[in-house]
Each structure stands twice: as structure tokens, then as C-alpha cells.
Amino acid sequence: MKEKSKRTKFLSEYSYIAVYVIILIVYVITNHGLTMSGFMNIFRHSAVIGIIGFGMGLICLTGDIDLSVGSMLALVSGFSVVIFNMTDNILLTFLFAVGFGAVCGLINGMLVGYGKIPAFIATLATMLIYRSFAQYYCQHIDKNLIGGGSSVYRMANANTLYQAMYNMGNGKVLTVPIVGILLIAVTIIFVYLTTETKYGKQIYAVGSNAKAARMTGIDVDKVKVSVFVIAGALVGLASFVWIAMNASADPATTGSSYEMYAIAAVVLGGISMSGGRGKMLGILFGAMSYTVIDKIIVALKMDSLINDAIKGIILIVVIMIQIVSPRIKEKIQKR
């Protein structure tokens, strides 16, 4: 009896893994097999959205949302390109990206935590602001700083470290892409942060019952601000990954709709949008599931106008499997 209930618990808590495996199998079938590098590409292509997803996940755990992550990606990666072009220094670029991301996150956090503006509208506003800045400065900055491009921030390939940077974004260690390793590292850090630290527990408490959390001495506003800052820093990290992978950032298109993708990854990873429930590990699988769904659509070669419908239906089916299956199992077990 006890054993059985443990297995059900596992299935209901880790159903995102089951879901990922199912999606992966569908992909392998529709794609007529999958090579090693095809498999590794899933990691590569999940890296940016996965890293952003962890930040979004923390925010969702506190019961908020951040719509500005995509615009922030455009702004931070654009400015990071400028810093790279100016300094020709990878470490400085990295520090700038993470730091600037954290500052953008701090602005969101202050609006939500101390300004008491609903997160949805506060980050909708900063979503407009950040992208607008990214686009404006791209046009109003010395052309050399944006690598000579007219409407894109481009890494100057004259820089001595250009190739090193590009290799970081596109290279592999043995067969594993470097950015994939980074994604795994971020996963480990955030799983640890949320399960093994006091701060992690406070995040859950704030999302679960903010009033009770406050009465235990947790500084609820500070926790809210802090998750936005962390999410911003992660967007900064993702920006660094982005420019290493793409060598440029287009302020108009980079990261557009990424807030939706990130949220989809978070929800596919089993995190509740009303706060307090879910596991960080889920986000890794959620992001990969989302990536694979896109790949399935490429592999299906349907009429392009119907692609989005297919994607929507897959999303619903997947979430259904994830949400409904543990409930059905529970019912069956009861009989």
C-alpha cells in the first residue's frame, strides 16, 4: 500500500519527465530518427529559454509574473554587444550582462514589491520600455559600437576575442554543447537554491500565503524584489549566451514573445502560476519539451498557416497529460 502510494506520488510530482519522454518519442518518430547532435541541439536550443525560465519560475513561485523578460533580453544583449565591442573583453561583457540584467530586474522588482503595482501591468510597462530603449539606442549610438550594422547590434568580428566568444556559444565539449552544460549547471544551482536553502523556502512561503509568511518574519516585499532581481540576472546570463550563439542582437525581434515561451516552459514544468507549488527541475524539462514541440512542427512539414494550431493543440494535450494523469491514477488506486 505504502509502496504504491509512493509510486503515484513520484508520478504526480515528476510527471513533467514522463511528458518530456512522450514528446521526445513523438519527435523521433516524426523526424525519422534522431542523431546525437540532433539530440544535443535540444539542449542548445533550450539554453536561452531555459535560463530565462528559471527566473520566470522563481517569480511564478511567489505568485507574480514577468512579461518583460523578452524585451530585457533584447536590451541587455544589445548593450552587452556594445560593451564587447568597446572592451574586447569577455569577462567584462559577462559581468556587464549579468549586472545590467539584475538592474532591469530590480526596476521590475521595485515596482511590484514596493510600488505595489500588479506584476502583470508593471512588467507590461517595462516590456514596452526596455524594447523601446533597445531600439532607440541602436539608432542613436555611434555605428562603430554596434558593429557597423544599421538596425542590429553586431559583435565586431575585428575584435580579437570574437572567435573565442562565438566558439563558446556554438562549441562543444566532447559531444555536449557548452551552452547545454551551462543550462545544466543553472538547473543544479536553482534546484539547490529552492530546496536546500532558507531563502528558497521563503520564496515558496510568500507564494503560498503571503500574509502568513509575513507573520513568520519574512520580509515579503524584499523576497518579491529579490526574485525579480535574480530573474533579471538570469536574463542577463541568457543575453550573454544569446550573443555568444548569434554574434548579434536585433532589438526588434530578439526575445519577442519570449515571456510566453518562458511561461509555457514553467507551466509545462509543473509550476503553478498562482504561486507556492512546483519544482525547479521541472523547468529544465518544461523548456526542453517546449523546444521539442517546435521541432516536431518543423518535422511535420504541415501547411505553415496551420502550424500554430498544431502547436496549441500539442500544448493542451501535454498539459492535460500532466495535470490529469496523476489525478486519474489516484482515482484508480482508490478503487
Partner: protein, 348 residues
């Protein structure tokens, strides 16, 4: 609708002369699409440049209004009209066909306007001029280039689409129409022996769906496509924008594709087309970058579709207000830019 068009033309002429009598300078509103990807962004940039020029010249004043979507554009037009200003003129890049009703209001208010890029049939006849780059022409030109590179009826073609709007639809259509023998490129249709059948067009062409005009989306999608080694056989890649084509190039340059698949793909001597006039793409044609890669291609082309056409549209309006005659149908033909003629073109 045609009736009101003709009367309004008479009216605008009246207004035109009236303007020169009382000397009030006409204000030209320039309404463009959102600056949400490279090409439309450049339209706005070029528009701003031209507006500065017009303002500097002093005869007329001008301002730019970009709108996020069609209904916002409609609202902006209605607000302009509600002010009831005299001596205004409008240059508009309609975001989609729903803007027709607003343009009709412009016509009804007897305000001269130039339509740019998207020509809405219902009101086209009442415009001072319709300046359009030829979206269908892009597809036609790309198809013609592929055929000149040896594409046979029924060859697999992969199309990278920017979005799923009507622009894309037109670019898709031109491509098909040329292959079917219904469209001309440089005054010639496809040779009968190379003509495709409807079935071939339906079955051999695969469309990507929306790449959001984004290089990195295309890069990711292309890497995914190549994870199925079977797709390495595809030789013809029609990207409906230079940014998208650059995504393919970067994917081939990066580490996301199996070496064997990549070799097989390049062994086919793939042919890639882009469109727009991105200077980075022209750089490839000039042999400045990605030379190792482009050397293995069977062909590389960028179809012209310059955002600087907006300047032509504004100039048409200025000419009209100056009293010069302006051709109502002002189509700017598409041309194929290849390594041979790239020196004659300027990228953006």
C-alpha cells in the same frame, strides 16, 4: 467608390492651387508600420531621413507617425481628420487591408494621399500615387533565379517565411505563379519545359511558418530541419528576407548540425535566396565574409526590396504638391542582386 474617387481628385487639385495662393505650407503626415523587424525598421529610418530633408527645404512640413497595428493606424488617421486641419497631405504605408475604411475617410475629406508598399484595391484609384515594391515580384524573382540555376519541376524547395501576414502570402504566391508560368520575370515567363504542375507546386514546396523575421529563429529552425539527415537533399532554400537567409548561413557556420549532414548538404551545392538588401548579405556576395561557405553554394541571391522606397513615396507627394505630374502606378521592380552585380547596389 469610384465616383467619389474622381470627385476627390478634382477637389484635391483645387486645394492644391488654393495652397499656392494663400502660401500656407502643407503638412505631410507620414504613417508607417511598426518598427518591429529589420525591414520595417529601416522604412521608418529612411522616412525620418526624408522628413528631415523636407522640413529643411522649408516649403512643406512633415512628421512621422508609426502605429503598432492596423487599428491603431486607423485611429491615428481618424484623429488627424478630426482636427479638421486645412492643407494637409498623407503618405501612408497601410498595415493591412482593414485600413481601407480609414483611407476612404481621407479620400472623403479630400486630402491627397500617397499609398506605399501595400496597395489596397478598393481605394487605389483615388491615390495621388501608389508606390509599391512588388511583394509578389520577390517570389517571382527568386523562382526565376532558382530556375536559372537549374531547378527542375518537382525539386524539393524549402521556404522560410517571415510571418503569416499577407506580405508573406504574396511572396509565396509570386514564387508559385512563376513556376506555373503565370508570372513574368524581366518580361519572360518560365520555359514550357521547366514549367511546374499544380500538383508539383503543392507537394514539393514546404513552408516554414512564422520565423518572426528573426535570424536566430531561422537558425534554430534550420538546425532542427537538418537533424533529419533526409532533409540534407533539399537544394533550394527560398528565404523571404535577408535576415532569414542569414539565419541559414549562421546555422551552417555554427556547431549545431552534424558534420556528415552538413557535408551532404553542401555537396548538393545548395542555392539560397534572400530579399531586402541587408548589407551583411551583400558583403557575402561581394566575397567579404563567409567566403569558405559561400564558395560551396550553387548560388546566392538577394532580391531587391529596398526600404528606401518610402523616400520615393514622400518625394511623389512633394512633387504632387509642387504641381508636377506623378504617375499613379509607381511600381518599383524587383531585381536580383548576385555576386556579379552587387557592386551596383547599396545595402542598408
Amino acid at each position: 467608390a469610384t465616383e467619389s474617387a474622381s470627385t476627390s481628385q478634382a477637389a484635391t487639385e483645387k486645394q492644391n492651387t488654393g495652397e499656392s495662393e494663400n502660401g500656407d505650407s502643407t503638412h505631410i503626415y507620414v504613417l508607417t508600420a511598426p518598427e518591429d523587424h529589420g525591414w520595417t525598421g529601416s522604412v521608418a529610418t529612411f522616412a525620418k531621413e526624408k522628413i528631415e530633408e523636407v522640413n529643411a527645404a522649408g516649403t512643406y512640413t512633415s512628421e512621422l507617425i508609426t502605429s503598432a497595428d492596423a487599428s491603431e493606424q486607423i485611429r491615428n488617421i481618424e484623429d488627424i481628420l478630426s482636427k479638421g486641419e486645412k492643407n494637409i497631405a498623407i503618405v501612408i504605408q497601410p498595415i493591412d487591408d482593414t485600413v481601407q475604411s480609414a483611407i476612404q475617410q481621407i479620400v472623403d475629406a479630400e486630402i491627397p494621399y500617397v499609398a506605399f508598399d501595400r496597395i489596397i484595391d478598393g481605394v487605389a484609384s483615388s491615390a495621388v500615387s501608389n508606390v509599391k515594391g512588388d511583394n509578389e515580384g520577390i517570389g517571382v524573382a527568386a523562382a526565376a533565379y532558382f530556375v536559372s540555376c537549374g531547378m527542375q519541376p518537382g525539386d524539393e524547395v524549402y521556404v522560410y517565411e517571415g510571418d503569416t501576414s499577407s506580405v508573406t502570402t504574396l511572396r509565396d504566391q509570386g514564387f508559385k505563379e512563376y513556376l506555373l508560368g503565370n508570372a513574368e520575370f524581366e518580361d519572360a515567363t518560365i520555359e514550357d519545359s521547366l514549367k511546374w504542375t499544380e500538383e508539383q507546386v503543392e507537394s514539393a514546396i514546404t513552408y516554414s511558418g512564422a520565423m518572426n523575421w528573426s535570424r536566430s529563429d531561422t537558425k534554430t529552425a534550420f538546425e532542427s530541419l537538418m537533424s533529419d539527415a533526409g532533409n540534407a537533399d533539399t537544394k533550394w532554400f527560398y528565404a523571404e528576407d535577408d535576415e532569414l537567409a542569414m539565419g541559414i548561413i549562421e546555422a551552417l557556420n555554427g556547431g549545431g548540425i552534424d558534420e556528415t549532414t552538413k557535408e551532404a548538404f553542401l555537396a548538393n551545392q545548395p542555392v539560397i535566396s534572400g530579399c531586402g538588401g541587408l548589407d551583411e548579405f551583400y558583403g557575402m556576395l561581394r566575397g567579404e565574409n563567409y567566403t569558405e561557405l559561400t564558395a560551396q553554394f550553387g548560388g546566392l541571391v538577394s532580391v531587391t526590396y529596398s526600404p528606401s522606397m518610402i523616400q520615393t513615396a514622400i518625394q511623389d507627394m512633394v512633387d504632387y504638391l509642387d504641381g508636377k505630374t506623378v504617375p499613379q502606378d509607381h511600381v518599383i521592380e524587383c531585381e536580383n542582386v548576385t555576386s556579379e552585380n552587387v557592386t551596383e547596389y547599396e545595402g542598408f
